[in-house]
């Protein structure tokens, strides 16, 4: 290696003031040479380092003031800004088109972005969120394969004691629903009965507005409620110390120990009230649970210690379980830990455990749609950027003189690039500000529609602003870069010699961009139409029963349940009620429908699985379900008879119902299968009839085997009355039904649903997506049209002389319009050609999600294509006709 090393010299050259560089380096090198002679190379080197260091002092680094002050960076920037504003205000139309396009694009982007941000930051409001995990049990037996978010009492309690990684644990157990009453004013509401361990409040940061938010669940007979429920019960939120009655057979009042703030919308927790676990810890049923290692009764969260590995902790939990509980052969159970942040979007395959069949599951997001919407948001923004690129490059010819003069008087390419980038940044910033305003105008409506509480103001999470800022800069650079690099490339000589910037590559690039824009637009249109059709299809599909005018009334007390026959009779006496049935679940059920193991008697093969609903003899009549074979239930004597649906009959190999005996040994309420009774004696039933298949689940699911047992069956209690009513005077009918119930049980509230509305909820998210897609599709098409309008205006301007000459030579307005429009229409046609297969593929993929769905028909494409063409034609025609109508004298008069 040569000494002194080059980099050291470079460093010195860079550090030392220009006017000293020569002598300093010379001195250093000369001295080095002298020392090599005198002391040898090694010493000389060491000295050289020290000498070099000696020059690194302010005296040598400080620059000499120059005679001519060099302009600071801001001077040039100010100039760029000034020119940008001048150019933009001189071309008002194009500026307006650009700003409008970008504003719409950014607005869509921000709205979708806010939505996605909210979905992606679920459950992160807790300060220990990164250390909180949900216990997931994986159970495999020969008959089932279950992944459930639940654990037993022992697992949750002992893990905390014995596993080093675990700092704390929290449990929730939900057993059903009951009336929660304020004893003073008798205000009463149906609430979920949930028991929580003290760890729940220690681990999560639920903010209390009254009472202590950390220790409120320590004592027995305490209850915490949320603000909203407090307001409903007491009309105030300062209610700590007051008592409430929770009517689930406790027989004593519960003291309110804390009032929590309402849950934020991006929290998976939705409880209104939690009773301390200590309240029931001495109850017989509960003590059975506390000694059990295998149950799935508790939704369990673990708080790990700092830097603890969740996989290791999960393995230790599994080992702990294995050490303490025997497993049947062929069964495997293991635990895994799911991070709190994953619960909302990554729980599709996980059963929400620790919930009674009477309680709704935690709400969940769908990752697929998050991805789709993210993609759409980007596409819309990209469309807006393309507009800017197109207009800027198209109009470059007008600025060729300016660029030429700038170059001739010494501007570097970089200066021109900065100039154009500044312009695009100015336009984008302006659009961004407008978009923020527009977003704030639209947010109230958007929030009602998405059922969220989004905001974009000074209180918004800084990450949102940071990301928006990033989007702003990226948009500005992206839209400005192509024109900037393209336009700054040309030689000044060509530019000043009246050179037309319309070179071929440029024009085809622009064409490509327009095609891209319209491809996206057409795909979105097709998607919207298909989504719309599918939603309409599921709403109108013949479900195998008549869903209209069915009122479902919940049975919420033992008294009502035992008097079901009386109530049925009373309901039937109301003149507007046509017929009444009692069932354990209803078709279109939103709670868990139990499944049972089933096998014809004498058959030794594996059991099969079917859903089970308890029903009565009025079921078929009330729901208008068709009986295809055998007979209906006859009455109380039929308590061991069952009806099968066609699918179940096929599964069991039954073609004619003739009292075949079928065994039902066990059932599941979403968790593991458990025997029906202690003695493990199967429920022996006789198949008396077969009903036509009907859709008792959402149309996403295929019709599954279904057993209709008689109302008094050992599997599942009756839970609903369903009444078919007449369409007239529904409020009066409901009022009379309410009266009937209160006669039997004074505290019973009439809780009812119209079945068709309940069914529509299955598709509520689809409808929401449909609306969102319609708006985004409209925005995309609008933005694309703005761009097209700009290009058409420009093309007409460019060809004004040609049009003049053609007109003089006798071309008609129609000729000229066609001349100007056909270029653009060709592009839209190409876009259609690209969009159709893409849209077909995407929509077919989506429809696969539904077991019952429409086929994508050809006319959808035709409609979308024609729509795109018409819109594009209307946009272009305006300019084309305007150009064609101009008096040729005007355009040809002067050169």
């Amino acid at each position: 290696m040569m000494f002194p090393p080059r980099w050291l010299d470079k460093l010195l050259l860079w550090l030392i003031a220009p006017h000293l560089r020569e002598e300093v380096l010379g001195d250093l090198h000369e001295r080095y040479a002298l020392r090599v002679e005198r002391l040898g190379e090694r010493k000389a080197r060491r000295r050289y380092w020290r000498d070099a260091m000696a020059y690194m002092r302010p005296r040598f680094i400080k620059r000499q003031p120059s005679l001519y002050t060099s302009p600071s960076i801001t001077d040039m920037l100010r100039n760029y800004l000034k020119i940008a504003f001048r150019t933009l205000s001189r071309n008002r139309l194009y500026t307006a088109l650009n700003v409008a396009g970008l504003t719409f694009g950014i607005t869509c982007f921000l709205l979708i972005g806010l939505y996605l941000f909210d979905e992606l930051t679920f459950d992160q409001q807790h300060s220990k969120a990164t250390r909180i995990y949900r216990a997931i049990q994986h159970k495999k037996t020969p008959v089932e394969d279950l992944t459930i978010a639940a654990s037993s009492y022992k697992v949750s309690e002992e893990s905390k004691q014995r596993i080093g990684e675990i700092e704390n644990s929290a449990r929730i157990n939900r057993t059903g629903r009951a009336n929660l009453t304020n004893p003073e004013n008798k205000n009463s509401f149906q609430e979920t009965i949930a028991f929580g361990s003290p760890g729940l409040l220690e681990m999560f940061d639920f903010e209390a507005i009254d009472g202590d938010s950390k220790s409120a669940l320590n004592e027995p007979n305490s209850i915490i409620i949320v603000e909203d429920l407090a307001q409903r019960l007491f009309s105030t939120t300062q209610v700590v110390g007051k008592t409430v009655d929770f009517e689930f057979g406790l027989g004593r009042a519960l003291k309110i120990t804390a009032v929590l703030k309402n849950h934020p919308r991006n929290s998976s927790f939705d409880f209104n009230a939690i009773v301390s676990e200590a309240t029931i810890s001495h109850d017989e049923e509960f003590t059975a649970w506390t000694s059990d290692w295998d149950s799935q009764n508790f939704l369990t969260f673990f708080l790990l210690k700092d830097k603890a590995n969740p996989d290791v902790a999960a393995r230790k939990i599994t080992n702990l379980l294995h050490a303490n509980s025997k497993r049947e052969p062929g069964t495997s159970i293991s635990y895994s830990l799911q991070p709190l942040a994953d619960i909302h979007l990554h729980s599709e395959t996980i059963v929400d455990g620790a919930r009674n069949g009477n309680v709704e599951a935690m709400s969940q997001g769908v990752l697929l749609y998050i991805k789709i919407f993210a993609l759409i948001a980007l596409f819309v923004l990209l469309t807006a950027c393309i507009n800017y690129m197109n207009l800027a490059t198209a109009r470059a010819a007008n600025r060729s003189k300016e660029i030429g003069v700038r170059k001739a008087s010494g501007a570097f390419q970089s200066h021109l690039i900065y100039q154009f980038l500044t312009e695009s940044m100015v336009v984008t910033t302006l659009s961004f500000l407008l978009a923020v305003l527009l977003v704030n105008v639209l947010l109230p409506a958007f929030n009602t529609f998405t059922n969220k509480e989004l905001s974009l103001d000074f209180h918004t999470d800084y990450r949102i602003w940071a990301l928006s800022g990033l989007a702003l800069v990226t948009t500005g650079l992206l839209s400005g870069s192509y024109p900037a690099f393209l336009l700054s490339r040309f030689s000044p000589l060509l530019l000043l010699k009246n050179f037309k910037l319309q070179n071929k590559g440029d024009w085809s690039f622009r064409k490509g961009l327009v095609v891209f824009q319209f491809t996206i637009s057409v795909v979105m249109m097709v998607a919207t139409i298909v989504l719309f059709q599918q939603v309409r299809y599921v709403n109108n599909k013949n479900l195998g029963f008549n869903k209209d005018l069915l009122v479902v009334v919940d049975i919420n007390s033992g008294k009502v349940r035992s008097s079901a026959e009386t109530i049925k009779a009373e309901f039937s006496n109301i003149p507007t009620v046509k017929s009444v049935a009692v069932t354990s679940r209803v078709p279109g059920e939103w709670k868990i429908i139990p499944t049972v193991k089933i096998r014809p008697e004498g058959n030794t093969s594996d059991h099969q699985t079917a859903y089970l609903i308890g029903a009565d003899e009025n079921f078929a009549k009330t729901f208008e379900v068709q009986l295809v074979n055998g007979r209906n239930f006859a009455g109380m004597s039929d308590s061991t008879s069952v009806l099968l649906n066609e699918t179940a009959a096929k599964m069991l190999g039954i073609t004619e119902a003739s009292s075949q005996v079928v065994d039902i040994p066990s059932r599941s309420m979403g968790g593991s299968y458990r025997p029906l009774n202690e003695a493990n004696k199967p429920f022996k039933t006789r198949v008396v009839g077969i009903v036509k298949d009907f859709h008792f689940q959402s149309l996403r699911e295929k019709i599954a085997p279904m057993v209709l047992a008689y109302q008094r069956n050992p599997v599942h209690n009756i839970d609903y009355f369903t009444a078919r009513i007449e369409g007239r005077d529904i409020p009066a009918t409901l009022a009379r039904m309410g009266d009937v119930l209160t006669q039997i049980d004074q505290t019973h509230l009439l809780e009812y649903h119209f079945l068709d509305e309940q069914l529509a909820r299955f598709y509520a998210e689809d409808r929401r997506r449909e609306t969102l897609l319609i708006w985004v599709a409209l925005a995309t098409i609008f933005i694309a049209c703005l761009g097209l309008f700009g290009l058409a205006t420009y093309a007409a301007e460019q060809r004004i002389k040609e049009i003049g000459v053609r007109k003089v030579l006798g071309a008609s307005v129609l000729n000229l319009t066609a001349l100007l429009s056909k270029d653009f229409l060709k592009l839209v046609l190409i876009a259609n050609g690209l969009a159709f297969p893409l849209a077909w593929w995407a929509t077919s993929r989506w429809l696969q999600e539904f077991a019952y769905h429409i086929e994508v028909e050809w006319w959808v494409f035709v409609v979308a294509g024609i729509l795109a063409l018409t819109i594009a034609l209307a946009t272009v025609c305006y300019q084309a006709i305007k150009a064609a109508l101009t008096n040729p004298v005007k355009s040809l008069r002067s050169e």
């Binding site: 002598e23 300093v24 001195d27 000369e30 040598f60």
Partner: protein
């Protein structure tokens, strides 16, 4: 002329310039001082002192010729100005006067 205007190192460098004229430039001065004092003297330190002296008007400089070992770079040759010469002789006069006033047998005790 205040005494503080001339630091000790500056004084030595100024003297060295006077000694080495007309070939006084930082490398030569540094080498000379090393030889005389037996301590390492970096060109950087010398250069800095030279600049200070030039600012004060005790030295003037011109760029000299380039040599091969300097990598073709020119050197800056320093010459002492009249003011510089006067300051030097003043400093010397002060010292001589003080030296002369030391009683002879005191001096003997040290050597």
């Amino acid at each position: 002329m205040r005494r503080s205007d001339l630091g000790e190192f500056e004084e030595v460098v100024l003297l060295a310039v006077a000694v080495l004229t007309p070939k006084a430039y930082s490398v030569m001065i540094a080498e000379e001082l090393e030889r005389e004092t037996g301590q390492t003297v970096s060109t950087g330190a010398v250069h800095a002192a030279l600049q200070r002296l030039e600012q004060k008007g005790y030295l003037s400089s011109v760029l000299g010729e380039a040599t091969a070992e300097r990598g073709g770079r020119r050197k800056r040759i320093f010459t002492i100005t009249a003011l510089g010469g006067r300051v030097l002789s003043e400093v010397q006069a002060v010292r001589t006067r003080l030296w002369d006033r030391i009683i002879p047998n005191v001096r003997l005790e040290w050597s």
